[in-house]
Amino acid sequence: MKFNRNVVLSTAVVLSIGLFNAHVFAQGSSVKGSSVKSAARSMQANTDQPPALIDPNIQRREINESDIDTEDLEIGIFGGFIAIEDFESSAVVGVSLAYHINENLFLEARYAQATAGQTSFEKLSGGAPFLTEEERDYTYYNLSLGYNINGETFFTDNVVFNSDIYFTLGAGSTKFGGDERFTISAGAGYRLLLTDFWALKVDVRDHVFSSDIIGVEKDVHNIAITLSTTFFF
């Protein structure tokens, strides 16, 4: 049986939003419902004595460590340039999701896409193209382990932001030219925390995989320079 991918995706999205937010709707209605009911009950119970204006038995709600807002996850979008070896450089856009394990280590997943250009040979000879339009779609993802070197950035004496320089090492795959290749990536970046939950990042990352698109098998280096904005939640 074949499903339309968009229909499946959109149904999943609607369901997930409904599920994740159900407690908000539920809470709203139950609070209203219970307050109305308790008001009604107290009116019934207190028919022979004057109703109490203030209920002294307020339950103090116990708050624990687990109720505190945790900001260990960092989600972001990025854009920039990627130099695709033999195929010019192109614009690249992507999304990232990171989990901060502790103050120094983090785990980051990235997914990005670009469209490769033409090789010099294709341009100069004017001959048949190496790749079809579809095969020029360049997509990659990777999972990296990163290390933060924490610090502060002083723009002036009074304008100070927390920041860090980080290094990443990861593995993933690149889909390009009709093949999917195991890809090692390594890079470094700078993260400027404008607030506790909003950051700007500049990132340089090399992606290395072995490719035989232009005939001989060789290791290609595709360096991406990107600017990201990320949010902690």
């Binding site: 708050i63 996850l73 394990i101 120094n104 933060n148």
Partner: protein
């Protein structure tokens, strides 16, 4: 450049998740130790700029890894460590429990996320896994592995059960059993028609060892033996060795 529908899917899912993360409460605690250090950032490298004294009440409103953002009644805002917060008391007078990613927290974990690098029949493979700790001994896990070789691209997923024989040991062996599916696609330069994907189901058994390494982190080494139920006369046997690490919640 056309945008991939998966890309949009990720963005929308993330925004849906954001709404569950948005619920938060402020926690009020009193300091019983002589003092608590307030730092300018959520890491031990950041300087201490303020000290809250014994008897003071502080409000905790945010957490980032092992650091908590607190505000004093005079309005000083800074980050304090989990260790120091763990020595404060709640309004009820009880000591506040603060998880520090200790081995004890690990044995009480609910979810675990792992990433591995390894070798699947002489091809470099990478895997990710999400696990749910059902009891201390039994863990349900979903895994996804990708092995991109010179001749074919292999993608495997599986659902499996891990049995931790001695979960209370820091170095602890475990056994796994599960079932899944494998997709194999030959390289486009080897097969002209391109998309000849072979799909088979498989069963897997395996064994591994895990080591509680440091705060919030566990190292794992694993072997699994896969029996793929192919359409051909012979069944295919695949072996995988992998080394990785896990974080837990």
């Amino acid at each position: 450049m056309k945008l991939n529908p998966h890309f949009l899917f990720v963005v929308i899912m993330a925004s849906a998740f954001y709404s569950i993360a948005a619920k938060a409460d402020d926690l009020i605690v009193s300091i019983v130790e002589p003092y608590v250090d307030f730092r300018t950032g959520p890491a031990s490298e950041y300087p201490i700029f303020h000290v809250a004294e014994q008897g003071e009440t502080i409000t905790i409103f945010k957490k980032k890894t092992g650091w908590y953002k607190a505000i004093t009644y005079t309005g000083q805002e800074g980050w304090i460590s989990a260790e120091q917060l763990g020595k404060t008391i709640k309004p009820s007078g009880e000591l506040l429990y603060v998880p520090t990613g200790s081995f004890e927290d690990y044995t009480n974990r609910t979810f675990e996320f792992s990433a591995f690098g390894g070798i699947l029949e002489s091809v470099t493979a990478m895997s990710v896994a999400a696990a749910w700790n059902v009891t201390g001994n039994l863990v349900a896990e979903a895994t996804y592995t990708q092995a991109l070789g010179d001749f074919s691209e292999n993608k495997l997923w599986s659902i499996r059960i891990q049995h931790h024989i001695f979960p209370e040991w820091k170095v602890s062996p475990y056994l796994t059993i599960g079932a899944g599916g494998i997709n194999t696609r030959p390289r486009s330069n080897l097969v002209q028609s391109g998309d000849e994907v072979r799909k088979s189901d498989f069963y897997e058994v395996g064994a591994g060892i895990r080591y509680y390494f440091a705060r919030n982190m566990v190292i794992k080494f694993e072997y699994r033996n896969i029996i793929a139920l192919t359409d051909r006369d012979d069944q295919e046997q695949i072996e995988e060795f992998k080394l990785g690490f896990s974080v837990f919640f």
